[in-house]
Amino acid sequence: MRSSDRRGGSGGATGSGRAESLRAEPVRAEPDRAASGRATSDRAVVRDALGVGVAVGLSGFAFGVTSNGAGLSLLQTCALSLLVFTGASQFALVGALAGGGNPFTAAAGAFFLGTRNAFYGLRLSRSLALPRALRPAAAQWVIDETAAVTLAQRTRRAARIGFTVTGLTLYVLWNLTTLLGAVGAEAIGDTRAWGLDAAGPAVFLALLAPMLRTAAERATAGIAVLLGLGLLPVLPAGVPVLVAALAAPAVLWYQGRRADPGAGSPHPETRADKTPEAGGLSERAR
């Protein structure tokens, strides 16, 4: 499907050019035999990256609308997308603020949702092998989608192109569509009449659905729903979500006790197998 494709049109070419300018120099040292094959696979990576970037970037519109509906100003909404740039945390924050949560509990929920990005960063730093000086700049783009595209690539060159093109596309589109959504919501007025207050929870559900594969994951989600809803009427706004997060360590603890009562540490072999390419790549490069 990819090898015979010779579409180097406007979209792909732009993305590729930007990737070129941002890419670090060590890539040239990578052993390479078939230059033409590489060009085709470069285009395939760029196309994949642009696809993901465009699809998800557009949901920034939903964020702009939701944030406006939650009572944040245009400037505050845009600042969130520019500075936070991790969708779930942004939705969580404006939801918590709309629910009357204080800034600390609201930010804590958003922060805990962002912890997964640290683990993406860990895997990405192996497959991208970025120079230290570049890492603070690259960090802002370490999110679900860039990790998904980058970690699916087999070579470091492809990983770097995937990361750069996905990151840039998403960052530009996410911020543009946030602005459009917030401005549009102001023009529309009552966003609830348009059902736009359902966009936030739908985004959460779409992010959650692929994570519910194992019994432990489903149990965690179930307990969290019960805690989140059950405690809502009795605890201050923003706190029930944080308590619900305890479902994760609780399920792990229960599982660990059942798996081997002696040692306590569970064996996540499936997790370790997840990114063999990334590991192999770093081994080869060092």
């Binding site: 600390f104 997964r116 359902a198 009427p233």
Partner: protein
């Protein structure tokens, strides 16, 4: 005014915290985070948070639990997800059904 300051404070805390989390992954040595228990907790934490947030933002109004048009919208999103619809269709289904139920009700 106070509300606006609080909002800016929340934005600043979230932006700083989320950026540091991203940077930490790129900077710390792999061994620091690569313990199985830590990785599993990191994988389960978003599950708990997203589940709780989805439920709360669908079935609550302030501190009260309510069942309204958003419930129907979320059900539509769930059906779209089961049919493996693309992300935008999932969100679109929730919005359209919620608006439709409100218009009828």
């Amino acid at each position: 005014m106070g509300g606006s300051m609080n909002t800016w404070m929340a934005i600043g805390l979230t932006a700083g915290g989320c950026y540091l989390l991203k940077l930490a992954g790129l900077l710390v040595p792999a061994t620091a985070l690569e313990r199985p228990v830590v990785e599993r907790l990191a994988a389960l934490l978003p599950v708990a948070l997203l589940a709780a947030l989805t439920a709360q933002q669908t079935f609550s109004d302030g501190a009260a639990l309510v069942l309204d048009a958003r419930g129907a919208g979320l059900a539509a999103a769930a059906v779209a997800l089961l049919l493996r619809a693309p992300f935008l269709v999932v969100v679109g289904a929730a919005v359209v059904v919620t608006a439709g139920v409100r218009a009828l009700g």
